[in-house]
Amino acid sequence: MNAKLSRYSIIILITISLSILLPNLYWMIFDKPLRTPQISYSPIIKDFVYSQTNDNNRDEKTYRDNQGNSYDRKSYEALLPFSFYYNLDKWGILPDSIDGIPVNISYIRRNSQFVRIRSVYFHTPMIQLNPLFESQSDFTRLEMPNELFRISDKLEFLNARSNSVVDSLSELYNQAMTEQEFQFPAKYIAGNPTTRKAFDEGYFIIDATNTVFHLKQIKGKPYCVRTNIPTDLNIRYITVQENSRREFYAIMVTLENDLYLISYDDYKLIRLPIDDFIADEMDLMFYIDPIYRTFKYYSDKELKCIVTDHDYNVIDTYQTSWTPKTEWVSSKIAASIFPFQAERENARTDYILFNLKFSGWLALIGIFLALGITIFVKVRIHGENLKENWFDLLIVAVTGLYGALAVLLIRPEPWD
């Protein structure tokens, strides 16, 4: 009995290993890159334009506008002066003005901004120890302080050289935060803990009562503001953007997948006109140019693009979709061969997973086939008595090909 159980534990382990190995090998052969169109909004023709790799010749790209006209690369880039201004300038065709707005390279650069929010940002481990920069230093460049801070039941600065809490500094900041009625512990801390930015806006911190606080250091003193951002927003993610345009401090994503800008105008929120955004499944790109705001967000099956004016009023939208991988013929074949596939890594998370992805009804094809083969080999070739090891068949009925390989390779013994 013990040996029998032992054989089954080996068979189950082999089945699990095969559900990792075989789909991996399969996709090594049949996987293809997704070639999605690069959509942009042209301020010249006031319409969407896109470039896409040719399906037939992957070394070539086609350039088209929404009306179906095709372009060569140079005339395509001429439609997008806010993206390709360096090229247009080199060719001497950068327009002097667009829509009455005078245009030159430095003007475009000063009035452009780009923010990306990827789904993987929501699923990545991060230790919350951050540096608090001096945001109004006498010196031009940001400098790394000697401490990192943590916020548990109080705020503590840790000196890296001595690896100990700096009490005086911690006390100063605790006092400033308590004065603003900050309720420890912090639920969320957002900032850019790097000196590679134009200036510093410190951190946005959500306290235990869902109130958003703004904390930074000015001339060595704490600067802590209790913002008026509503506490019932279910904020999930904040990305602070220190951009010299100084339109907004940060972008927020809520659990309901709404997006807001936290503006420099007394932390007033600006709701972005983005519908059907799913933070866990989509990547979002937010382009700001001198005239338009463009939001591009896409999942593994569709892409949406929304263009707005300065005040985030929608001007135009574009939507396209393609066959998702799960609908590919090769996916259907995989589903009928493999009853489930063990997924360990995924582009939308930094965590290692152990997900058994079940294939649905199609798997029955493979399972019946595997059962048939197993019974045939066991009876005709191995000459086994099926009743004696009926559990083998049950394993095959659940795990198909994997189980069949396991029970046929690791054969039952004449048990005691």
Binding site: P125, I410, E413
Partner: protein
Amino acid sequence: MFKAILYKEWLKIRWVVLGSILAVLGFLVYIGLNVRQYFEMNDPINVWIFFVQQKVLYYSILKYIPVFIAIILAVVQFVPEMVKKRYRLTFHLPFSETKSLFIMSFIGMGHILLVSVILLLGLTIIGSIYFPVELTASSLVSVLPWLLAGFASYLTTSAVVLDPSWKYRVLFVLFLTPFIQSLFLEQGYYEYKYSIVFFFLISLLFGIIILFPGYRLRKGSVK
């Protein structure tokens, strides 16, 4: 009888036990010196920032150590038993094969547990000297899959060595490694946070895989 088995196992593995403890201590000293050098040569705050933000594991040199020790341990423990099929003598003792195999593998796993505890203690000491408790805690959690892989590879190697046929040995190695390899996918800290429980539960199955090869050995199976 139990004492006799214990003594026999000790005779086989004593040098590996000693050697592996020394090796692990050596690696820990290396990590300690390496971290110390980072702090000497760089601004300490940048070292912290680097390990927090870039998620570089300063102890990644330990990754395959438990597996390496486990495989050697299983080999020195079970290969002598297989020379001239000596282990079959055990079957004449008034002691079940299940019991004796379990005792043998418990002894081996006891040593891997010892190695794991030394590693965790070492990382705790290094962490408490140089790093905030958050980073130290992350190091203790992030090595868990590697330690688990140590136990799994020990039990797999034991089964491989003990099985009387080469066909099964090859099959075991080929088809059990993808699971064990799944424990080495980590790039940064805490990445197994949500899956380590599943990996642990599945790994429990390794606990009894040695009985089947043992049974085949007793029966003289050659399939």
